[in-house]
Symmetry: C2
Subunit: 197 residues, 2 copies
């Protein structure tokens, strides 16, 4: 056991409920009062554990990518690019319309825009989205090298298209689109797939 007084709340549980709040109301829409009340802890305890609101948000984003959004790396592990994208979309819909989570992706809901004081948050999320896009692009580059995708296909624009649909699905989900409706969108989105022509 460590030296001083033991912490009276679970760090991971606290981070999970913080994640849910940020996910639902966004960075600016989530107040410290809401956070501390939901976690059941006082403000200084939260600060000594996670730093400040900005750091807490960053850690919540990291946790989001490890747990609820872990479908992305898993999907990209599929043997073919086509199946990877299918699983990617399926995973997105699964997370995006899940009773345990808010509708849509934290990377889109968290802070697409913000006041002058929270611009760093926007940029952080923007980088994360770009990271997801890059991961998809690398998977397509591999698929091209393996002959899985036609050599004439350019990986970067295709990846950008796929994640554009992905972010669009988040907006739709945030607006109340049902799982079936999102599936229909994915069906249309996949009709342009290179192999099918």
């Amino acid at each position: 056991m460590p030296r001083g007084r033991p912490r009276q709340f679970d760090l991971d549980r606290a981070l999970d409920t913080a994640l849910l709040l940020f996910w639902r109301h966004g960075y600016e829409g989530t107040s410290l009062k809401a956070l501390t009340e939901a976690i059941g802890v006082n403000v200084p305890s939260l600060y000594s554990a996670f730093g400040n609101k900005e750091e807490l948000f960053a850690k919540a984003v990291a946790r989001n990518l490890q747990k609820p959004a872990s479908y992305l790396p898993k999907a990209l592990g599929e043997p073919t690019a086509r199946r990877a994208v299918e699983k990617l979309f399926r995973g997105a819909i699964n997370m995006t319309r899940n009773s345990r989570y808010p509708e849509g992706c934290l990377l889109v809901r968290g802070a697409l825009v913000a006041g002058p004081s929270s611009e760093a948050i926007c940029q952080e999320l923007s980088r994360r989205r770009a990271g997801a896009e890059a991961a998809v692009r690398r998977r397509f580059e591999r698929a091209i090298a393996e002959g899985d995708l036609p050599a004439k296909v350019d990986a970067a624009p295709l990846a950008r298209y796929i994640v554009t649909v992905l972010w669009g699905l988040s907006v739709q989900a945030a607006g109340g689109a049902t799982r079936a409706q999102l599936k229909e969108v994915v069906e249309w989105a996949l009709r342009c797939w290179p192999e099918s022509e």
Copy 2:
């Protein structure tokens, strides 16, 4: 001339600068102080002219649809559904990457999520997005009735797919995507067009 002391600022100009601020920083990220300073007017004048912050936002949204986002009804007036969608995407990119405007669409940037006090704003924007989707759907229904689109095509899912890409483009633009990159996305998005099969 009306009865009392004449207003010393232009209502439309004020609404335009309010629109730009809401557009850039979102509803929650735009403070009354920022609004009044940018417009060059005191708080009570703003309130007597527009009501409160929420009403001002609603009027800014309405103005946005009349001016910067007027490309939507114009695009849907094109003779064929295919050309309508092409013009829709082109108009969206034009607005979304325009030096005069923030990057992306107000309907997505304004308030995708919000704190408990601003949920009405989210719903308002959600309704507006649904309205845009419905307009596209009706255009497709007309196209099907005219034989412009194959009869087996279902208008609603196709419209939902198109606007999903549209909202996705807004997220991409907000993240710094260039005009050329967005055009590449649109190219991919249009490859699934029914006629092309």
